[in-house]
Every structure is written in C-alpha cells, then in structure tokens.
Amino acid sequence: MSTLLWLVTVLGGIAVAGWVFRFAGQTVTGNAPRFRDMPYGVAFGYVLGVSILAWAIWYYFQPVTTEQGLPNAGVMFFRWGVQGLIIAMIAAYVFRFLGRLIGTANSKKLFRAMPLTAAFGILTIIIYAIFAIFADAIAPYGQEQIFEQANVLPGGDPALGGDPAHPLGTDQIGRDILSRLIYGAQNTVGIAFATTCLAFALGATFGLLAAVLGGWLDQLLSRAVDVLMAIPSLIFALLLMTIASVWASEWGIPLTIFMVVIIAVIDSTRVFRLARAVGVNIVVMDYIEAAKLRGEGMGHLIFREILPNATAPLLAEFGLRFCFVFLTIAALSFLGVGIQPPLADWGTMVRDLAPFINFAAFAPLAAVTPLLAAGAIALLTVAVNFVVDWMLHRSSGLKE
C-alpha cells in the first residue's frame, strides 16, 4: 500500500511541477509562442524527463555495497548498463569520424549523413562478422574444450572467484565462455543469416511471381501459404524437425541443414505475403506496362523492374525476420532439436546457464554469465534494426 501511495505522490508532484513549469515559462519569457502553445502533456513530459534523469544520476552514484556488506546488484547492473551505453556511443562516434576521414569520396559522403545509431549498428555488425569469420583464430580455446574448474565467475579477479585465464569465466561443465560466445557467433549468426536469406529468396520470388501473373497461380500459392500460416509455426517446426532427425541419421546429412530449410520454408510464408502485397502495387505502374509491351520475360520483370522498387519494405522485413529466425533457432535448440551440443549456440548457452540468474541479489557476477549470451543476441538484434531503419530512411528519401 505504501508503495502505491508513494507512486501517486511522485506522479502528482510531477503533474503539479509540469503545470508550474509551463506557467513559469510563460511568465518569464513574456508569453513566447513556445510556452504559450505548449500542451500540458508536453510540459508534463519535460518535467518527467528531467525527474528521471535526476534519479538516474543519483542512483548511479549510490554505493555498490549495502550497509550489511552485501553487493548492491541493482546499482552494479545499472552502472554496467550506463557504462556500456557510453562506450557504445563513443565507439560509434569514433567509427563514424574515421569513416568521414578515410575512404573514397562516396563513402565519405555516406558517413557524413549517417546518424549515430546507424554507425553503431554497422560497427556492431562488422565486429560480429569478424568474430564469426575468424572464430578459430580469435577464440582462446576450442568450443568443446573442458577445463577442470567449472563455474568460474567472469571478471578474471581471483579474489572474487574469477580466473585470469578465463576472462568471462567458465560454464557449469567447465568450458570457456568467451570462446563459446565467439564460436556461437559463427554457428548461430551464420545459420540464422543463411536461413533468412533462403526464406527471402523463396518468399520474394514466389510472392512477386504471384503478383505479376495473378490468376490461378496466385490463388494456388496464396492459399497454400494460408494453410502453412494456419499451423502454429514453432509446433510445426518441431514436428518437421522430429521427422527430419530420423532422415538425417538415415541419410547422413547434418540435421542443421534440415533445420535451415524447415525454418526458411515456414518463415518464407510471411515474406511471401509481404512481397505479394508490395508487388501488386508496383505491377500496376506504367513502367511495368512499358516493359511488358517491350516483350520482356518474367525474369527481367521481377528482378530488374519490380524487385528494386520493393527493396525498402523487404529490407525492413529482413531485419525483423532475422531476429525471429534467430529466436526460433534458440527455441529449437532449447527443445533439443536445433543446433546440437557440443556446438556452441547462444540460445543453448542462455538455457544452460539460466539458473544463475537467481543469484543476482547476492552474487551479481554469477548472474552475469547467462546474460552474456542473451546480451549478444540483444545487441545484434538492435544493431540490425538500427541499420535497416537507416537504409529505409535513405531509400525513402531518394524516392521523394
């Protein structure tokens, strides 16, 4: 009850402060339009924003240990978060600054108009790509290598239960987490990327084909897609994976290939829908008619005339779809039919280390272990979406 009372008091205080702020602004500036026409909601927003900022600064400088000598986990995680954000901003800024100095005239121009979020996204994706491609060279140990000491805490400080040989610690059976994270980039990101590309190749081709040809082919494909979409996708994937695991052992084909194809087909239904909807709007344009009257074949129509005009929405979908595929793979791995151990996979790593999250209150360092893999997933998702947003903005700007 007291919490509720407290919350109401604070919100009420901010509400009053918002009104006072606007009134003071109007009086001090002599009724400048900025304050005179300011809706109350905006004034409230300003005060709320300032209050939150003030609270954040106050909280950041709280002691990391409580009076009882226990670590104050909330403050620690908050500090890490803020520091991470500041480092990311600085890195993105430096990256963009370098991009503006080095390179050809075109690339310099590109970097000049680039928002900081996009620079951060590109930098993150580049780093992930380097880790994925050169995993063997970068990772200090193998992904399957088991050490004597299990559950070494991250941080590398022996006084706090760490080990300098394993900067991010080891997992519950003693494998080096840093190495597994790096190999995970290779496995998880590589497979998710391949799957998404395949889904797009299938979905976009059939979707645009349906849009151009129309008639019975359109009906056939669209209804088939409706049927596939009617089945809950995870359960459907699980069912198919179970069947595939039998085939995989029978024919000696790695299960991962089946997984790629199955997820790609299921996800391509969503891409089909989008590509068809976008395509139908483009097909009625006069330049398509001109191309048809020129006698162009289907390939030219789809890949030269329509596809370049459909890239903006398809790219946006790509960013989103990539994240979903990623999560689907993690989910399948969690259920035991996805990427098979001992291969490192971020989804599996989160699952394996998940119980440590319970230690957050008294041993923040232990709770970090599952968050490392989760953070890697989250960071990539955010980065991909930043880049896609920027590309969308650029392409729509060009169309104008």
Partner: protein
C-alpha cells in the same frame, strides 16, 4: 476603403531538403480586400500553393516561415495562439483543395462532413446546418440538392464533389476562401460548370478568395487581380484586364504566347496509301461492361491523329486495344496492312517494336530505381542487340535528340529530373525502339504550359525528322490545335466525329463537338459571362451533355 482583409508583407518561406533549409518564397507581398478575388498563377514549384496556405497562417510539414508577416483582418496569424487560429480556420478562412475525391473522408456522408465545421464552431446547430447545406447545394446547382448530401463521396461525380466541397467551405460563410487548383483534375465541360458556380457564390456572399491555378484562361474568368509567381518571386501584379492586354514582364509575355504554337497544315493524304495503323470496327469490353463500340479510324505515315473526348469516353481503351493489352472482342487492328495478333503476348519482337507508347504520368512511367541511362539503354539492347560502346553511343544520340546533355543526365535517377525532363526521357525510351508509330497518352496534361509547349515542339520536330505517326490522346483542345493533322472525337466508346483539323475547328460540326469546343476557356475575361448569357446556366457542362 477599409483595411485589407489579408495583408502579407515580405513573406519568406523555407523548405527542408537534404538537412538544409532552401528558400521556397523569397519575400512576397500580398494584399487582398474584402470581396476581392486574387488569381495566383505560376508553374509548378513557383510556390503558389505554399503561399496560399501561408495566407491561412499554415505551413506544410518541413516548411517554415522565416521572415515577414501575415495579417488577417488585423490579426497577426504568425504569432496568434493555436486557440485563436482554431477559431479562424474553417470559420472565417476556408480551403478548397485540388482533388475533392482525395479530400473528402470516404467513410462519412457528404452532409455529415459539411455540418462538422458549423457545429464545431458553434455557428449553427446540426439541423440548421443541414438545411443551409441544401440551400448551398441549390445555389451551386447540384442535381437533387435535397438528397445529394446524404450520399457517400464515391457515389457522386468529380465535378459534383468539387462543388460540394465549395459548399462545405461556404458553410460558415467565411471571409476568405483559398481555392487550390479546384478544376485542374476535371474535364472541360465539367470545369465550366464548377467555375460558373464558384464565381456566382463568391459574388453572392461577397467572399474574398485566392484562386490558385496554372491555367491562365481559367484565372481570367475568376479573378479581379492576378499575381504571377516564378520560383518564389513575384513577377508582376495587375488587375485582370491590364494583365491580359498589357503584360509588362518578359516571363508573363512568354506565358501568354504559349497558346500561339500551331503547326502548318500538311498536304492532303494520298488516298491510295496504306495507313500505318488501321483500326477496323473494334469493340472492346472490360468483363461484361462494353467500353468501345465499332471504333474505326486510320493513321497515316508522318501524321498526327488527335483522339479527343472526356474521361470515360474510351480514348485510352482504344490505345490499350492497339497495344494489345486489351484484346478487342470484335474487329481487328492492321499495321502496315498486316493484321496484328489481338494480344501483345502473341506479337513478335518486330511488331512490338513498331508501336511504342508515351505515358501521361512520367513519374509512374519511369522505373524510379533505374538511372536514365539504363532506362533508355534497355530497349536498344533488347531490340537492336547493341552492347558496349555502340550501345552507349546510341543512348547518347537519343539523349541529344531529346535535347538533354548525355554526360550530365546519363547517371541520374528519374527523381532528380523535372517533370518536363522526365517526359522527355519517356520520349527517348519510345524512340529507342525505332518505331514507326507512337501513342501519346495525355503526354502534356500533367505539365506546365511552357514545358508542355516544349514537349509538343519536340514531338513535332521528331515527326518531321523520322516521319513518325502519332496517335495523340488528349482532352485539351489547345493541344489538338497545336499538333494534330486529323481529329477523332469520341464519346461513350463511339467515334462521333472524324475530320481533318481545319474542318474540325470550323462549323458545322456535331453538337457534342460544338459543346466541347465552346467549353474551352478563352483568355477573354468576359468569355464565361458571355457564354452563360448565350446558353443559359442550365445549358453548360454536364447538364448539356446529359441532354444529348
């Protein structure tokens, strides 16, 4: 004389593009007295609409007022509070947009949208406002004024909707109405009706108006004063009669001169020659709806046949039959004496190459993702099989033919070109196939007059050089006069009249042709008044068409 209703002084507006503020209007003054109509003319991009909106104290997103003042009846609109502006807009200042079809909310009945402003502003109650709406519909001579308001916007025609929108703007009896190209999207016969009713109602209620248009003949009928804008600068301002008879500036004179372009008549056709295209007794239908009935005409080498008619008369459908997009249900199309397969899918490359098309909207006719070079390259590559240097040379040659510098434009995207340049690219793409026959579908109707004239001259030159045949679809009789050799008049899917140009513009002709011809606004400011006196208000426009 009392204070002016609208007083704009030194107004500068800027628009945001590429992260920079570019000037749109550089210091324009405007004074409008009560009950006065001011015509704003200029090409697209001259800033007429922006200025019209600024007179309401409003700017579109990404546009800002950087300097100057806008006063409405002594109220400074730029510093007025949002609440004061809310009280003015809709009640004392109203706006009529170019496309009524896009401006009405399709989900509500017309009368419900009509009553919104008066009830919101507390001018009158809903029932009173409905009665008032019917009175206004009566005054604007809408058919069935008692019931038309209870229809949905898609259930009435474009011209009627435009008048309903004028009625809506009138609903609070505003002091000022801004008309932004209210008749541009309409047919001539419909336009005249809308013009007559707008003029009448504005006079009756002594409303001041700013009338924005690019059509000089229209503004001559409507406005007391005319202000000419060019690229955000005022060129000149004068009362209508002075402006028409004695324009001062070079630019204004050039605008006036556009209408004088006319090609010399060509010698009579050799009756024995095989026509390039011969349309013989063609019927066509969309599904079960018949749209063409027994259409026949010939197009000879080096000649331009203009096909004239209102929207829905079957002009474009005839073109679709010729290109094979819509196979005719009856009749046939001959090319050089050979019967063409009905569907374009069955035609071979040679047949496809011979007939090319230029579209009305260059924006949708050019792939926005392809560079100019690639757009023109494709047909050359596709039909002629050229590649490498020879290909590039041919594209350069084509670009020179349409009077654009090859090196400058080769790598540009269509979005980086002006409307007239885009239309030129459309022409180059058609020429790239080296055709004998080109269908021009309303190629100049989306362009400003000066630019349109340039396109017409280019087409005429190309015809002389390459002895091309054109089928020129248009609803603009000035264009017909400028470029055609023969004229085909269509109505409701039939050919009504067909003759050489000289005969067409001289009586006697078919009653419908007569109506079409007399509905084209002329530069004479008394033209509309005279026409109304001569024919009576019930004998113009759609009403007259319906009587036929």
């Amino acid at each position: 004389m009392s204070d002016p209703l609208v007083k704009i002084r030194g107004l500068k507006l800027e628009g945001r593009s590429d992260e920079m503020w570019m000037p749109i209007i550089n210091g324009v003054d405007l004074t409008l007295n009560r009950g006065e109509v001011l015509g704003l003319i200029g090409e697209s991009g001259a800033g007429k609409s922006t200025l019209g909106l600024a007179a309401m104290g409003y700017t579109r997103d990404g546009v800002r007022i950087s300097e100057g003042s806008v006063e409405f009846d002594g109220i400074d609109l730029l510093t007025a509070s949002a609440a004061v502006k809310r009280g003015l807009l809709g009640k004392r200042i109203a706006y009529v947009a170019q496309s009524a079809a896009a401006s009405f909310n399709p989900a509500h009945k017309i009368i419900d949208q009509h009553t919104e402003a008066p009830t919101q502003h507390g001018v009158m109650g809903r029932n009173e406002s409905v009665d008032d709406g019917i009175t206004l519909y009566n005054k604007l001579r809408l058919p069935n004024p008692e019931t038309i308001g209870f229809r949905y916007p898609h259930q009435v025609s474009g011209g009627q909707l435009q008048r309903a929108m004028t009625a809506m703007a009138m609903s609070c009896r505003p002091d000022l109405i801004i008309f932004d190209e209210p008749t541009t999207a309409l047919d001539v016969t419909t336009q005249i009706e809308v013009l007559a009713s707008i003029r009448e109602i504005v006079e009756e209620y002594d409303t001041a108006a700013i009338y924005i248009t690019h059509d000089l003949a229209v503004v001559a009928q409507m406005a007391d004063n005319i202000k000419v804008l060019l690229k955000g600068d005022e060129v000149e301002t004068a009362d209508t009669r002075t402006m028409l008879s004695k324009p001062q500036e070079e630019y204004t004179k050039s605008l006036w001169a556009v209408r004088s372009f006319e090609r010399p008549a060509k010698p009579a056709i050799n009756t024995g020659a095989t026509p390039v295209v011969s349309i013989q007794n063609v019927d066509a239908a969309y599904g079960t709806v018949k749209v063409l009935e027994d259409v026949s005409f010939d197009i000879h080498e080096g000649r331009t046949v203009a096909v004239v008619g209102e929207s829905g008369s079957g002009k474009s459908t005839t073109a679709r039959c010729i290109t094979g997009l819509l196979p005719p249900t009856k009749g046939q199309i001959l090319f050089d004496g050979q019967v063409l397969p009905a569907s374009y899918k069955a035609r071979d490359k040679f047949q496809l190459r011979q007939a090319q098309m230029i579209y009305q909207m260059a924006d949708t006719a050019l792939n926005p993702r392809m560079s100019i070079g690639k757009i023109i390259e494709r047909p050359v590559q596709f039909y002629m099989g050229l590649s490498g240097k020879a290909l590039r040379q041919r594209v350069d040659e084509l670009l020179e033919q349409i009077e654009l510098e090859p090196d400058k434009y080769f790598n540009r995207l269509p979005s980086e070109l002006s409307g007239g340049q885009k239309q030129r690219i459309g022409i180059a793409r058609a020429l790239a196939a080296e055709p004998k026959f080109i269908i021009c579908d309303e190629v100049t109707s989306a362009l400003d007059q000066l630019v349109a004239e340039g396109i017409l001259r280019l087409l005429a030159d190309l015809q002389d050089k390459l002895s091309l045949s054109y089928m020129f679809i248009t609803h603009d009789l000035a264009t017909v006069r400028a470029i055609s050799d023969e004229v085909v008049v269509m109505k409701d899917g039939r050919v009504i009249e067909q003759s050489a140009k000289a005969e067409m513009f001289q009586p006697p002709h078919h009653a419908y042709t007569d109506l079409l011809l007399s509905s084209v606004p002329e530069m004479d400011p008394d033209w509309l008044t005279n026409l109304l006196n001569e024919r009576g208000v019930d004998n113009i426009g759609d009403a007259a068409v319906d009587k036929m």
